[in-house]
Every structure is written in C-alpha cells, then in structure tokens.
C-alpha cells in the first residue's frame, strides 16, 4: 500500500531529472545530428555553465542575470571551439573531431579545478525558488518544479525555431544537403558555427540550473556524460523529440528502478539502450540514414 502512495512523487522525481538531462542533451543532439560531430566536451560546457553562474552570482548576487550571461559566455566558447579548433580538423574526418573534443573535455575539467578548486561550491538560489511547495500531504522543492518549467520552455522554443522558421529550414537542410544550401548563397560554415554556439549556450543554461540541484563540483561533467550519450543513442541522433522522449524514459527508469529493483537501477538505462540498438538501431525517433 505504501508503495502505491509514492508512485506519483516518484514519477515527478524521474520527470525532473529527465528534463534536466534533456536540457543538456538538446544541444548535444542538435550538434550531432546536424554536423555529425559527437561533442565529448559537451558535458564540460555544461559544467562551465554552472561555474560561470557561481562566479556571476558571487560578483553580482543576481541569479536571473547569471541565467542569461553564463549561457551566452558558454555559447561564445562553443563558437570559438568550432571556429578555431573543430573547423581545422574537420577535413580529417570524425575520428579527429572526436579526439579533439575528448581532449578538450579533459582540459576544461582541469581548468575548472585550477580556477575554482576541487571543492564543491555553494550556490545561493533566489529565496522564491529555494523553498518547498506543499500540495496535499506532499512537500516538493520549488526548485525542482522550476527545472521542469525551464526545460519545457526550452523544448517549445527550439521546436518552433527548427520546424516553423526559415532559419530552422536552413539548419536542417545544411546538414543533409550542405552543398546545395551553399550553392543557394547561404554560408554553411557560418550556420555550423552559430549552431555550435547555440548548443553550447543550451549546455550552459543546463549548467546554471543543474548546479544548485546536482551540486556544482568538478565531477559534474563526468557524472552526466554517460547519461547524455545514452539519451542520444536511444532518442535517435539529431532528433529533438527523440532526445525528449529518451530523457524522460531514462529519468523514470532511474526513479522507478530505485523504488522497485534497486540493485538493477543503474543498469536499466543501458538495458534500454541495448534493446533499442537491437530493435531500432537508428533510435526511437531517429531517421533511417
């Protein structure tokens, strides 16, 4: 009986973690799907978002400001990475790009430790978000609901831009028919660069929000990166809806896994990935390419 009563709240827990995961994964899947670059440094960019936000908060005390400035800074880093590093190795193929971003992830992690130290950091969130909301006999942290809200907003905006605007059409077309788009007078390298910036900014935003929730610490990139790759594979490379669905599934699998089969909880997402790879190798909502 008691088990039944925790089901709704356990669902909510899984939903919140899943949505944060989606926030980080959205940028990764966009970049991967459209540029074919598996950005290993994406988790590190997410971590940078959290640390930038910490510093901005320390200087200004403005959480809302950090929610804007930190993603912009991380996005700018994304642009620099694309323009000055990735573009240079692009012609050598994906293996080089992968190795480059892999190395970058390490460098960023060491830089973070060097600048901010090894200790986890205390991030003060606004009073209106730090409390708990009471409904019926359930106490739920306001901040977790805030994560939910932000993720839904990001998904909606991204979805509208990609599928309902001219910019979105150019982006999607630049991926599959880059020469044709180029011939139409659109600067494809510029599109890729901006896309990398947007992807970075999304990771940065996820970091700002994820920091106070999962604790801003130098290990936060490493702990989320595996989940990220599972999301990309399960959802389908480059599919925004796929990333949303996969994030949701992984969040719920972890949450209910802990409730029902705790010994197996960690393994469940990989089980899901294995099943997807066997049954539908292109991912749940991926294109057959």
């Amino acid at each position: 009986m008691e088990l039944l009563s925790v089901i709704p709240i356990q669902f909510l827990h899984g939903l919140v973690y899943g949505m944060l995961l989606f926030l980080v994964a959205s940028g990764l899947t966009l970049i991967f799907g459209m540029m074919g670059v598996l950005n290993f440094a994406h988790g590190a960019l997410y971590m940078l978002g959290a640390y930038f936000s910490y510093s901005i908060l320390r200087w200004t005390g403005q959480f809302w400001l950090s929610m804007i400035v930190a993603p912009v800074l991380v996005g700018a880093m994304g642009i620099l990475i694309e323009r000055f590093l990735l573009r240079k190795v692009h012609r050598f193929g994906h293996a080089h790009e992968l190795l480059l971003t892999f190395g970058l992830a390490y460098i960023i992690e060491e830089l973070v430790k060097w600048i901010w130290g090894n200790q986890p950091l205390h991030v003060e969130i606004p009073a209106m978000l730090s409390g708990s909301i009471q409904f019926l006999d359930i106490t739920y942290p306001t901040y977790r609901l805030f994560i939910l809200l932000i993720s839904v907003a990001v998904f909606t905006v991204l979805f509208l831009i990609l599928y309902k605007t001219r910019a979105g059409i150019i982006v999607t077309a630049a991926v599959t028919r880059s020469e044709m788009v180029n011939a139409l007078g659109i600067n494809v390298p510029l599109v890729f660069m901006l896309l990398f910036g947007v992807g970075g900014a999304l990771a940065g935003l996820a970091g700002v929000i994820g920091g106070p929730y999962l604790i801003t610490n130098p290990g936060m990139a490493a702990t989320i990166i595996i989940d990220l790759f599972v999301v990309i594979v399960v959802g389908g490379m480059g599919s925004l809806q796929g990333a949303l669905l996969a994030s949701f599934l992984i969040g719920e699998l972890q949450s209910f896994g802990i409730l029902l089969v705790p010994q197996m909880a960690v393994a469940l997402e990989f089980l899901l990935m294995a099943v997807v790879l066997i049954v539908k190798p292109e991912g749940l909502l991926g294109d057959k390419a």
Partner: protein, 404 residues
C-alpha cells in the same frame, strides 16, 4: 682542450652533487606519502596531505625526529591499487622512506598494505577505514590510527540505541566495500545496543549518485525514524540537502559530515543530523584547544577537521613511535608502536598489539549554526563515548593472524 675543461667541470659538479646528497641524506629522514594527486578525488588527497604536513612541520620545528629533519616524498597513486603499490615500492627502494602513508582510499590502502611484507617497511593507514586492512588481510607492517568502519558505526549505534524514540532504521550507503561494511557492522552493533531495532530499509547506490530524491521518497515511505549513512562527498551533501527539501525531518546519522566541504553546501539542511568520529572541532577542554591551536599554527591557518585531523593524529602517532623506538629500523618501530599509548585530544589512543588497530574514544556531534572555525554552519560536540564502548573485537573484525 675545451672538451677537457668542460669534462672537468662536469665531473666536479657531479662530485659536489654526490657529496651534497650524502651530507643532505645524513641530516634528513624521508616519509613517503602515496596519495591521490589527480582526478576527481584529488581533494581527498590534498586534505590528507595537509594533516601529514602539519605534523611534520611541528616535529621539524621542535628539532626534528631523532635529530633528523623529516622530508616528505609525495607520489600520486591515481586512486588505483596497482599504481599505489608501484609508488610504494619506489618510495621504499629509491627514496628509502621509513614509512609509506596513505589514507584517502581503502582500496589503495588494502593493496599497499599487502605489498609491505615484501618491502619490509611500515604502511601507516591514517584514514582508510575498510575492515579488511587490519582484519582479514592483517600483516605486521600495517598500522591504522583512525577508527575502522565497525568502530565508527558502533559510535552511532551507541547514540541511537540509547534513545528509545529511534527504533526503525533505514541504511543507505554507497555500493562498494565501505558502504557494505557500514551496513553490516551497523546491523550487528544496533543488535547489541538496542535489540528491538528494526531495519526497515537497506539501499546501496552508486558512488557519485546524481539524484537522491527517489531514495528520499523511499525512505519516507518506509516509515523509518532515523537514517544511517556512511556516504561522503557529494553523495552525503545530496542526501542531506534533498531529504530536507523533500520534507524528511528524521535524523541522519553520518560518518563524514565533519567534512567542511560538505557542510559548506548542506548548511541549515544538516540540522537534525548526527555525526560521529574520533574527534570534532570545538571540544571544551584545554587539551583539545591546545590540539587545535597547535594544528592551526603548523598548518598555515587551517583547522583539524575530517581526514585532515585523522592524518595529523596518525602522523603524530607514528613520529611518537619512532621516538619511542629510538631508531628508524622497521622492526624496532613495530615493537615500539605495538601497545603504544598516545595522549589524544579527547583521551588516550592505544595501538592494539594483535591487529594494529588503534583503540580510541569517539565524539558525537550535531549541527551548530555558528562556530569560530568556518563562516558557514558547522558542527558541535554533544557527547564522547569511551573507547571500550566502540571497540570491535578481533573476532568481529574478521582478523586472521599473519602467515608468511
């Protein structure tokens, strides 16, 4: 001609260097530190080394050890047992260290410990608490100066066992040997102190678990009236913070809440938590104050908390053992260390001769909104438990005599 002059200069420099080294090594003695110096757990290594350094600075400023200045030779074990063993070998054979100190990891500590009979030097375990190190895998070259898992949780069981309102416990721990030790020995200890206690839940989660909310809801649903957790680092912070935010108010009994890094984040959420260890800052006695102030002086303004304190005490005890032995000879130090009693900040610490596990009292602490040590909430001591109450017998520790 030029070449001969050059050769001559190089040769002379070589001789000077050689002589220099000989003179230098006659005046100093090397202590080896095989700690984690890279990766995600580097912070643990940093703190252990702060404690060791303070003890060494203190000894050196008071005339050194047996007339020699102590030098630390620090190596990175990278958190891996096999690398730890390699580095321990290097510290003994190349640097001629009289001791190898490691505390951050029970895994690495166990591996180094088992390599020492071949190297015939002492491994000093200042803060790794896995039972096997002085239990199943005991050998005469290993000495542990901190609590072991069994003693550590026995202190918590003593506290909760004496309070009759706490009879339903939920055990939540990390999914590796340390977490299993905590759960196993807590169950055994609570049977001794409060046999009518019911274990309403027992969970093991991955180290660096991301979201604790699902566990918190499970604990709440279990009807537990208190929680015991051997978690450390972000796993402890997350457990404490998320449980309070989700409205769970029952006490959490912890073994590593004295980590100021954890308290800096947990802050008010730690209200109602209970912490046990061999010492806690703020004991109201002249001896404890002297202990803290001495550390503060020789550490460059730090406080002896958490593993910093354990590494400090351990290194001081080893130095004392060498003084008692009057020699750097391993066998003589072992003889002097066995059964030695050191005057600790809250009472004597005695090295049990059979298994080389130090026997000592423990302190229980609770949340304090303000202390003189940190600019965020920390802990304050509420009671001490005598050594005899938390002692774990040789048999309970799974101790086996050493066979060569």
């Amino acid at each position: 001609m030029k070449r001969t002059i050059f050769g001559g200069i190089v040769g002379m420099m070589g001789i000077c260097l050689l002589l220099g080294t000989v003179v230098w090594s006659a005046d100093t003695v090397n202590f080896g530190v095989c700690e984690i110096r890279s990766g995600a757990f580097k912070d643990n290594g940093d703190r252990t080394i702060w404690g060791i350094e303070a003890a060494v600075n203190e000894a050196n400023s008071k005339g050194g050890l047996l007339g020699k200045k102590i030098e630390l030779v620090i190596e990175d074990n990278q958190g891996k047992g096999e690398i730890g063993v390699q580095k321990a070998k290097k510290l003994v054979m190349q640097d001629n260290c009289v001791v190898v100190i490691q505390g951050s990891s029970s895994g690495v500590g166990g591996a180094i410990g088992q390599a020492m009979p071949r190297l015939k030097r002492i491994y000093l375990d200042t803060n790794a608490e896995a039972m096997d190190i002085t239990g199943k895998n005991f050998n005469p070259y290993v000495f542990r100066t901190c609590l072991n898992a069994g003693m550590h949780v026995k202190a918590l069981a003593h506290y909760f066992g004496k309070k009759t309102q706490y009879r339903k416990v939920f055990l939540i721990n990390q999914d590796y040997s340390w977490g299993y030790d905590v759960a196993k020995y807590y169950e055994a200890a609570i049977k001794q102190f409060a046999p009518n206690t019911q274990v309403v839940g027992k969970e093991f989660h991955q180290v660096f678990n991301k979201d604790f909310a699902p566990y918190v809801s499970k604990i709440t649903a279990s009807g537990a009236d208190y929680v015991i957790s051997g978690n450390w680092g972000t796993d402890l912070t997350q457990l404490v913070v998320q449980s309070r935010k989700l409205g769970m108010k029952i006490p959490i009994g912890a073994t590593f809440l004295d980590d100021d890094g954890v308290m800096n984040i947990a802050r008010e959420a730690a209200e109602g938590c209970i912490q046990a260890n061999m010492y806690i800052l703020g004991i109201d006695s002249d001896k404890a104050r002297a202990f803290e102030d001495t550390f503060h002086k020789y550490s460059g303004g730090k406080w002896p908390s958490f593993v910093i304190m354990e590494a400090y005490i351990g290194t001081k005890m080893f130095i004392e053992a060498v003084r008692k032995a009057g020699s750097f000879d391993t066998d003589k130090i072992i003889k002097a260390f066995e059964g030695m009693t050191w005057d600790g900040p809250i009472g004597p610490i005695t090295m049990r001769p059979e298994d080389h596990q130090a026997q000592m009292p423990a302190v229980i602490a609770e949340y304090a909104s303000k202390t003189k040590y940190y600019d965020f909430p920390y802990l304050k001591p509420i009671m001490t438990i005598p050594a005899s109450e938390i002692s774990v017998s040789l048999e309970e520790s799974g101790w086996k005599p050493y066979k060569e």
